[in-house]
C-alpha cells in the first residue's frame, strides 16, 4: 500500500523560539498588532510504501523521532493518508 505522510515539526512549546519572536517584531512594523506567540516549524511531506497502516505509522514515527525532529528541542505531529 502507498501512503502519504504530512508531518509538522514544531519547536517544543516551552522552549524559546527566537525566529518566531523576530517575526513578531516584523509583523508589528507592518502595523499588524494584536498578534502574539508566533512559532515557526517545518512542514515535511513524504511518500512511503508499507504492508498496512500500522507499519506505515511505525515507519513515519521512526523517521520523525530519529531524524526529522530533534526531540530535545522539537515535537512532531503527522497525518497519514492512503493513496
Amino acid at each position: 500500500m502507498k501512503f502519504t505522510a504530512e508531518i509538522d515539526v514544531m519547536p517544543r512549546p516551552e522552549l524559546l523560539d527566537p525566529q518566531g519572536k523576530a517575526v513578531l517584531l516584523g509583523l508589528e512594523h507592518l502595523g499588524l498588532d494584536q498578534i502574539g506567540n508566533v512559532r515557526i516549524g517545518k512542514h515535511i511531506t513524504l511518500q512511503l510504501e508499507a504492508e498496512n497502516e500500522e507499519i506505515a505509522r511505525e515507519k513515519v514515527e521512526k523517521a520523525c523521532s530519529k531524524l526529522l525532529a530533534n526531540l530535545i528541542m522539537e515535537s512532531y505531529t503527522y497525518a497519514l493518508e492512503q493513496q
Binding site: Q19, A22, G26
Partner: protein
C-alpha cells in the same frame, strides 16, 4: 558626497563600512537608524552586512519592512544610489529593488574565506575604475549567498550589463570550479535595470585597511567616490 549607512537591529558590519568610508576613503558618512524616516540628506545609501533580525524567516525578509526602508525605496526610485553588501544585498532583493534571490550556499554551510571576484562590466558605478581582466581578492562571509534568478531575468541581466561581479580564480577565470557558493553564472553582485542600485555578497570594506594585509576592495570605493564627485 554624503554616505549613509543604515543600522538595522542585528547589523554587524555597519561600523566596518563607516570606517572604510571615513578613515579609508576620507568621505563624510553617517549612520541611519532603521526606525527613523530621515535619510539626513545622504546621497549614497549603504545597507551593511550582518544578521538583521537574526536572519530569521529569510535573510533580509524582516529588515525590508523596517520604517526607514520606505525612504530607501523612494530614494532608489527617484534615481538615488543605494548599495547593499552581503545582508544588505539580501535585503535589497527581498525589497524588490534588485532582481533575484540569495539562497543557502550549495554546501549548506556558512562560508568565510578570501575569494576572488572579477568585474563583469565597467559600466556600473562601483566597477568604473576596475580592470576587467583582473581578479580582486575580497572576503566572503555568508550562509545564504547563492544567487538565483529565472532564465529570463538572467538573460536580461546579461543583455543589459547588470552583472557586476563574478566569482573567479586568482587569474580571473570564471570557471564553475571557482564558484564558492553555487551561484548561477558565478554571480557575486548585480545592479538594477536603472543602474543606481547595487548589491554584492563579498565584503569590499574588509579589504581597505592596509594593516589587514589586503587592499583589493579600495578600487570599488574609489570608483564610487571618484565618479560621484566628478
Amino acid at each position: 558626497m554624503k554616505f549613509g549607512v543604515v543600522v538595522f537591529p542585528g547589523s554587524n558590519c555597519d561600523q566596518d563600512l563607516v570606517d572604510a568610508i571615513s578613515i579609508g576613503m576620507q568621505q563624510e558618512v553617517v549612520k541611519l537608524w532603521h526606525k527613523s524616516h530621515d535619510l539626513q540628506g545622504c546621497d549614497f545609501i549603504l545597507l551593511p552586512g550582518g544578521f538583521s533580525y537574526g536572519d530569521y524567516l529569510r535573510s533580509g525578509a524582516i529588515a525590508r519592512i523596517s520604517p526607514i526602508m520606505q525612504e530607501v525605496v523612494q530614494h532608489a526610485n527617484s534615481g538615488g544610489y543605494v548599495m547593499g553588501i552581503c545582508n544588505g544585498f539580501q535585503i535589497l532583493t527581498e525589497a524588490g529593488l534588485l532582481p533575484g534571490a540569495l539562497l543557502r550556499n550549495v554546501n549548506q554551510k556558512f562560508i568565510c574565506d578570501n575569494v576572488y571576484i572579477k568585474p563583469a562590466t565597467t559600466n556600473l558605478l562601483p566597477t568604473r575604475l576596475l580592470d576587467l581582466n583582473k581578479a580582486y581578492k575580497i572576503p566572503v562571509a555568508h550562509g545564504e549567498g547563492r544567487y538565483h534568478a529565472d532564465t529570463d531575468t538572467l538573460k536580461r541581466l546579461h543583455d543589459n550589463d547588470q552583472i557586476m561581479f563574478k566569482y573567479s580564480s586568482n587569474a580571473a577565470e570564471t570557471h564553475e570550479l571557482y564558484n564558492v557558493n553555487g551561484s548561477l553564472l558565478n554571480i557575486a553582485g548585480v545592479s538594477n535595470e536603472k543602474k543606481n542600485v547595487f548589491g554584492m555578497m563579498p565584503h569590499p570594506e574588509r579589504a581597505v585597511d592596509p594593516e589587514l594585509g589586503n587592499t583589493d576592495g579600495r578600487a570599488i570605493f574609489e570608483s564610487i567616490v571618484e565618479l560621484v564627485n566628478a
